[in-house]
């Protein structure tokens, strides 16, 4: 039987752009270019490698996001995934991590899956909790933050390099996996891949397709409330000296003045 892989990807504002908040204190998505979160490219890459090793596998890319999130889906399809699902609904605006995990979990169940692969964190929210939330909601093992992953005979194995130890992990499918940026460079889409992606199917689902009520998600339904957002004051300009042979000593003098020495 075919191995059904669902990769969750997020469409995020470019981290190198001037990111800020909209008036309702949600992430402003209008003034900064969006893209497929770089950290989710690693998830797509590992899905492609796992599919290569399997006899028969199908990769579905899933995103929950605004209209433009289609760009993220196209990019993942052009890397080589087979099809995509876009969950899009005006009522989703302002949904937080708990709500997003609800929508993703329902969509994953509806799509059908053996393996879910997520990125380690989104580059805008940087919470790194959605994969664990998906495992909790789907009631399947979580094998997260892997720097190495493989699937064989219905078992997923991986290595998790934590602070205190490097751990080898194992779970049977179905399971939720997340991979780090140590898992291996993501491939660039080829010209052929980009052309092929244009013909790959992208389904659109809204909340009613997933039996989710509007009150359960969005800004109103959010489990957390942002009361204020303030730009950090720019750091006051410091002293910059050019090394003329005494740079190290000058720096030592500064550190001594600050009581670090």
């Amino acid at each position: 039987m075919s191995l059904r892989i669902v990769v969750t990807v997020k469409y995020v504002p470019d981290a190198t752009g001037d990111r800020h908040f909209a008036d309702d204190l949600t992430v402003d998505r209008d003034d900064v270019d969006g893209l497929l979160s770089e950290l989710d490219e690693y998830a797509v890459e590992q899905a492609l490698q796992i599919a290569d090793e399997a006899d028969d596998a199908e990769i579905t890319i899933l995103t929950v996001g605004p209209e433009d999130a289609k760009d993220a889906l196209r990019k993942a399809l052009s890397m080589g995934a087979d099809k995509a699902i876009h969950v899009e609904d005006d009522d989703l605006h302002g949904t937080d991590a708990i709500g997003t995990s609800l929508v993703l979990a329902k969509a994953i169940e509806k799509a059908g899956y053996d393996l879910v692969i997520s990125g380690m964190a989104s580059t805008d929210g940087t919470m790194g909790v959605v994969p664990a939330l998906l495992a909790e909601r789907l009631g399947v093992p979580q094998v997260t933050l892997l720097s190495e992953v493989s699937v064989e005979d219905g078992t997923v194995k991986g290595r998790r390099d934590g602070d205190a130890a490097s751990e080898l992990l194992e779970a049977s499918l179905p399971a939720v996996v997340s991979v780090t940026d140590q898992s291996g460079e993501a491939r660039y889409p080829s010209f052929k891949g980009i052309m092929a992606a244009k013909k790959k199917p992208v389904q659109s689902w809204d909340l009613s397709d997933l039996d989710i009520e509007a009150e359960e998600v969005g800004l109103e339904g959010a489990w957390t409330a942002v009361d204020s957002a303030a730009e950090r004051p720019a750091r006051t300009a410091g002293t910059i000296v050019k090394d003329e042979g005494e740079g190290g000593k000058q720096l030592a003098e500064f550190l001594a003045g600050q009581k670090f020495i």
Partner: protein
């Protein structure tokens, strides 16, 4: 008085510093009740009591070491049900964040991750977060359920506040999912003898400018002269010059020390994301245009191979 559940991060009974900081913050909201799990759990009690824990709930079982995350979620949930706290505070380590998130779904609560400060508010605890690579600071609350909040290291000062710290055994029944992900092997990280990166008061980092693993001892020597932890940029890590566990930035550690010294690091947004909230920032870079200089309190435009050894020597001689 209302109780606040505090999840304890410890290594075989030795409580890690971020948990003691958490106790400082917890006392602003209520009486801290600590939950310590796994090998050495009961040995944490003295340190926790010293820092304000009125109660320490402990439990040990093989499952905590043999299976990933879920056994700890089951235990934290058991503690939550036993205590009915007004908030649950968890250190922002990778694992503890996952534990906190799963607990939040189970108890029907919202979650805030990576708080850098916490105050009591009229509508529950107010968390300060640093977002978009620390270019914004937000204040938020959990709007539904009992707030579950994870807090970053160095968010508060450790304060002694002796309390009873009564040890109680926690009753835990593991669910069917607890044994879902087996840990089949574990290689503990070797200790370098240097402070933990996220907890250190001073961090000395090296980037691509260090130009090879063989040159990192120059960075280490400076770090050792200051009793600092060693960090690295992703460029240095990707080149294989320094371990990934030492990477500072968006996909590495985020640090907030009293002093951060960046050597041969350009200051890309993803690196800044992990160090921008440091109190004092110093950089050595031969390119006067490097963006890192926008952040510094003191910068030296120069070759790190000249500046860094001279600095180290000067520090060592001043120490006498």
């Amino acid at each position: 008085m209302a109780e606040v559940l505090v999840y304890v991060d410890h290594v075989d009974g030795a409580v890690r510093k971020p948990t003691l900081e958490l106790l400082t913050l917890a006392r602003r909201i209520g009486e801290p009740v600590a939950v310590a799990l796994g090998n050495g759990a009961a040995d944490t009690a003295a340190a926790l009591a010293e820092h304000g824990a009125v109660k320490v709930l402990t439990h040990d079982a093989a499952e905590y070491a043999d299976y990933l995350v879920v056994p700890k979620v089951d235990a934290l949930q058991a503690a939550y049900e036993a205590v009915s706290p007004v908030a649950v505070l968890v250190p922002s380590s990778a694992e503890a964040k996952e534990i906190a998130a799963r607990l939040a779904v189970r108890i029907g609560s919202g979650i805030i991750t990576d708080a850098v400060d916490l105050e009591a508010g009229d509508e529950g605890p107010v968390a300060t977060q640093s977002v978009f690579a620390a270019s914004f600071s937000t204040k938020s609350r959990v709007a539904k359920g009992t707030p579950v909040i994870t807090v970053k290291p160095n968010s508060a000062a450790v304060e002694a506040a002796p309390a009873a710290g009564t040890v109680e055994a926690l009753d835990v029944t593991f669910g069917a999912l607890a044994t879902g992900t087996k840990v089949t092997g574990r290689t503990p990280r070797e200790s370098t003898g240097r402070p933990e990166l996220t907890e250190a008061a001073i961090v000395v980092s090296g980037g691509r400018g260090v130009n090879g693993a063989e040159n990192f001892p120059i960075i280490e020597a400076l770090a050792d002269s200051l009793g600092a932890a060693v960090g690295a940029s992703r460029a240095a890590v990707d080149a294989g010059w320094y371990p990934h566990t030492n990477q500072v930035g968006q996909t590495g550690k985020s640090v907030s020390p009293q002093l951060y010294i960046a050597n041969g690091i350009s200051g890309a947004i993803q690196h800044r994301a992990g160090m921008q909230t440091s109190k004092t920032i110093v950089a050595v870079n031969k390119d006067a245009e490097a963006p890192i200089f926008d952040l510094v309190d003191y910068g030296v435009v120069g070759d790190l191979f000249d500046v860094v050894p001279q600095l180290t020597e000067e520090i060592n001689s001043r120490k006498g």
